[in-house]
């Protein structure tokens, strides 16, 4: 940011400076406003910006991280087995199925829409794989790919009907919920349950662990190094062309924070069975989707549609195509999530994809901090949200508390989250940030 105002208080909106400077109005060569938000270098600047964001209601992931810490503290005080490597590792593997579905939901929520069909579609994917692989003896990889494509196709159909014909997404995907559940029951046939090969590809998705301790530490080290190098070189490029960049100290603070978390998780996994394959796949998907949303023009278009459909259309964005593709992505991730869920129980059964799965997936995306109003959120929200939900499930199960109470508590957490969402949105509006 500009340096001519750095003597002023951090980030201060310099209200006393004249809003307009007639001399500058004519021959001004800079785009610097006297009311510019000036950011001081170093840690104090960082704290200052943090305070300003809090005031403006730009809470980001803070509430969910705090919530997670509180939930963990409560369960740990109730049962000292909760924060053990074994339990946390189990939670991490169990959350992947719902988490994958929640990633797809984040895409849909970014449009400001909803997809109610993901539960049923996830069931269809598990059943499709089981029928093709077990009943018809198709090769595992081909069956896996066809199962995921089925999900993508189902999502694309919903998206097309919504985008092209203009049926509300709520209604289209509600119809999809019923249809795909029926479709799954139909292809499963009268037997109802198809058991998967417990040593097969899909079963391995959640049962395989990289037992070598080097795997966990290596992945953590690679992640930290990649983060540091990409931030560092990004900043170098920014400095080279003279646009505002982050100070090196801030990059280092962020990298250290990431390193602490990454290595703590790696140590935790290595104390138990090692690094779970499911978690690796989930993290890769999160990095990939985050990249797509924030670094590609496709992602920019998704955010634009969440902000203003009319503005997007006038900017030449193919609204029908983007909407259809977002629903296809949602269906794809529902299918991937369905395969992880089938993997966990090594079977495809009639109950798959029903019950609380849909609600948990949507709740995970929202609890993680994705706005229901569209245009705000990250796929990492899905990770945080699903961690909260599965932690509650496992914590209550450890206490021997039955699912009615579980539902009520998860419902309460979801309500608290949407209230926070609505309130922060209001605060952001008054702070001129929504």
């Amino acid at each position: 940011m500009s340096t001519d105002n750095t003597s002023k208080p951090i980030l201060a909106k310099i209200a006393d400076a004249p809003a307009e400077n007639p001399a500058a109005a004519d021959g001004s060569v800079t785009a610097v406003d006297p009311r510019l938000l000036v950011r001081e270098q170093g840690l104090s600047g960082y704290l200052g910006e943090f305070k300003r964001k809090m005031k403006a209601g730009d809470l980001g992931s803070i509430p969910v991280v705090l919530g997670l810490i509180i939930i963990w503290a409560i369960f740990q005080s109730l049962n000292s087995n909760f924060l053990t490597a074994g339990n946390l590792s189990d939670i991490s593997v169990a959350m992947v199925g719902t988490g994958m579905i929640a990633v797809g939901i984040v895409f849909v929520l970014l449009l400001g829409e909803i997809d109610l069909s993901v539960g049923s579609v996830s069931g269809v994917a598990g059943a499709t794989f089981a029928v093709l692989n077990v009943t018809h003896g198709m090769s595992e990889w081909l069956a896996l790919i066809l199962a995921i494509l089925t999900g993508a196709a189902a999502g694309a159909i919903h998206g097309y009907v919504f985008a092209k014909i203009g049926v509300p997404a709520f209604a289209v995907t509600l119809a999809g919920l019923l249809f795909w559940n029926g479709f799954m029951l139909q292809i499963l046939g009268s037997n109802g349950t198809i058991n998967l090969d417990s040593e097969g590809l899909v079963a391995k998705l959640t049962s395989y662990y990289f037992s070598d301790v080097a795997a966990g530490y290596g992945l953590a080290a690679v992640a930290v190094a990649a983060y540091f190098l990409s931030s560092f070189f990004d900043n170098r490029r920014r400095e080279a062309v003279g646009v505002p960049s982050r100070p090196l100290s801030e990059i280092i603070v962020r990298t250290v924070a990431l390193a602490v978390v990454a290595f703590a998780v790696a140590i935790m996994f290595n104390q138990y069975k090692g690094l779970p394959l499911a978690v690796v796949i989930f993290l890769v998907m999160l990095v990939a989707t985050d990249f797509v949303l924030r670094r590609t023009s496709y992602g920019r278009k998704v955010f634009a549609l969440g902000g203003s459909v009319e503005a997007s259309r006038r900017a030449g964005i193919n609204v029908v195509m983007i909407r259809t593709s977002v629903y296809a992505i949602s269906g794809t991730f529902a299918a991937i999530g369905g395969l992880f869920i089938a993997s966990k129980i090594t079977s495809a059964n009639q109950g798959a994809g029903s019950g609380e799965l849909l609600m948990n997936a949507i709740a995970a995306a929202v609890i993680g901090g994705t706005s229901l109003f569209g245009g705000r959120g990250r796929t990492w929200n899905a990770l945080l949200g699903v961690l909260v939900i599965i932690s509650i499930q496992y914590g209550l199960a450890l206490q021997g508390i039955a699912s009615p109470i579980q539902y009520m508590i998860t419902g309460g957490v979801l309500l608290a989250t949407v209230v926070i969402d609505a309130v922060t949105r209001k605060t952001q509006k008054t702070a001129g940030r929504a």
Binding site: D33, L36, D234, R238, A304, G306, S312, R314, I317
Partner: protein, 262 residues
């Protein structure tokens, strides 16, 4: 006035447009040259918006000819207009509130490097563009929602400049703005003219029209009702052309005042 080229950038010859039973435009003529600001005025329902939309490709014309730099062209879709070099800034600004200034400026034509958004280059060029237009906003990395109405309007106009258009159409750019912001936008219109763009300015505000326009084209009930040179025409003449009568309250009052002064 700045030098004006001989061949108009855009010329409409006998353009007509009908919506069902309504004849919205009848044999409308309009010429705009490079480096010239043409104000398009008329009462509500006179056909200003329809005329602009035919130029922008939202409504294809039924009859008549659109000439672009002397050659007859077809404009059937917004895309056709954009390809010719026509940029339109609509009244409702068509910006995304949740995206920052850079993102909005480049929305739909993002710069990419190896398929990835080139944020650094977009930010650099945005700052450059905003500074050449002397637009001052707090930061190019804050969401549009944080900006005032005038700042949003200037961002919307700056956005239209990115494609280096030959013709910029501004639909009531000052309608919702305060005194200060209106002056900023008018400054910007003058800067567009200095840079050799042709500008069509729709406005209800005679003061704005007098301030920046070179010519005033009046529409009344879907027909031309005169094209005036701003420098040599009084506001009363323009208003009487808009209201469509030489004998009405305004002209009578003008006449009375004229007599009183003598």
């Amino acid at each position: 006035m700045v030098h004006v080229s001989a061949t108009p950038v855009l010329a409409l010859r006998g353009v007509s447009k009908r919506f069902g039973a309504v004849q919205a435009l009848t044999d409308v003529e309009l010429e705009v040259h490079a480096g010239e600001v043409v104000a398009l005025v008329g009462d509500n329902g006179a056909g200003k918006s329809t005329l602009v939309k035919t130029i922008a490709g939202v409504h294809p014309i039924d009859d008549g000819v659109i000439e672009w730099e002397g050659k007859s062209v077809q404009i059937n879709r917004p895309h056709d207009a954009q390809n010719l070099g026509i940029a339109t800034v609509y009244q409702d600004l068509a910006l995304c509130d949740n995206i920052d200034v850079v993102g909005n400026l480049y929305l739909g034509r993002e710069l990419r490097k190896f398929g990835v958004l080139n944020e650094v280059e977009m930010e650099r060029r945005s700052r450059e563009l905003l500074s050449t237009l002397s637009i001052r906003i707090p930061s190019v990395r804050i969401p549009i929602a944080s900006l005032s109405g005038g700042q949003r309007q200037t961002v919307a106009i700056a956005r239209s400049m990115l494609g280096e258009p030959k013709l910029v159409i501004l639909d009531e750019p000052t309608a919702a703005l305060g005194v200060e912001q209106t002056a900023q936008v008018l400054d910007l219109v003058e800067r567009l003219r200095e840079r050799g763009h042709a500008v069509i300015l729709i406005s209800h505000n005679m003061a704005d029209v007098k301030a920046v326009a070179d010519k005033v084209a009046v529409l009344r009930l879907g027909r031309n009702n005169g094209v005036f040179d701003v420098a040599t025409t009084s506001q009363e003449e323009i208003i009487s052309a808009i209201t469509g009568a030489t004998d009405n309250a305004v002209t009578r009052r003008a006449a009375r005042n004229g007599e009183a002064q003598k």
